[in-house]
Symmetry: C2
Subunit: 109 residues, 2 copies
């Protein structure tokens, strides 16, 4: 147990859950907001900005990178991160479809 049974759900449902999981930690939310705010590649000051230890930030960045939401470019000894806008848009489509489901105005119970 303790293992999510992905096989009984649709690809779409699993995809929504994966994106949502990425946003399910405030550090990752903060990282993404900071990248959007600066509107540029952020080279190195994420650790001071967020306030968690360097390995922890690195771990969160890795998750976001694996999902494709950010990209990292090596610049000398530092790595510069920014939003991957193409993939961000794809994610938005998936998540918006889910969030914008609407109910007909029908009384219930």
């Amino acid at each position: 147990m303790g293992l999510t049974k992905t096989e009984i759900f649709t690809d779409k449902q699993n995809q929504i859950a994966l994106y949502a999981k990425a946003f399910g930690h405030p550090a990752r939310v903060a990282i993404l907001q900071y990248l959007f705010k600066l509107n540029a590649c952020v080279c190195g000051d994420l650790v001071e900005e967020i306030g968690l230890a360097q390995p922890t930030i690195s771990q969160h960045l890795k998750e976001l990178k694996q999902l494709g939401l950010i990209k990292g470019n090596v610049e000398g000894t530092s790595v510069c991160y920014c939003i991957d806008t193409d993939n961000w848009e794809k994610m938005k489509t998936v998540m918006s479809d889910f969030l914008n489901q609407d109910l007909a105005p029908k009384e219930c119970c």
Copy 2:
């Protein structure tokens, strides 16, 4: 360790993360989609519909209820669940603000 440091993040960041966490499991996504699809209170057939054990479904429903995204009304021996549309709209506002951040079209790195 293993404990999210919520105190170093803003209320907004924590709120986004809490909502996202709720959507971070495909069973909860599936439950919500089903409630939207039927557009009615669902009395009892969620266990067969989703395909997880009854206590597991009950646990997922509890999480969604605690966040306020669904409500449950007791009807005899069964409980009928439906989307809490008011709270769903509030959630949508919060999540949309986050997802719809946009970058100026600026090259990066």
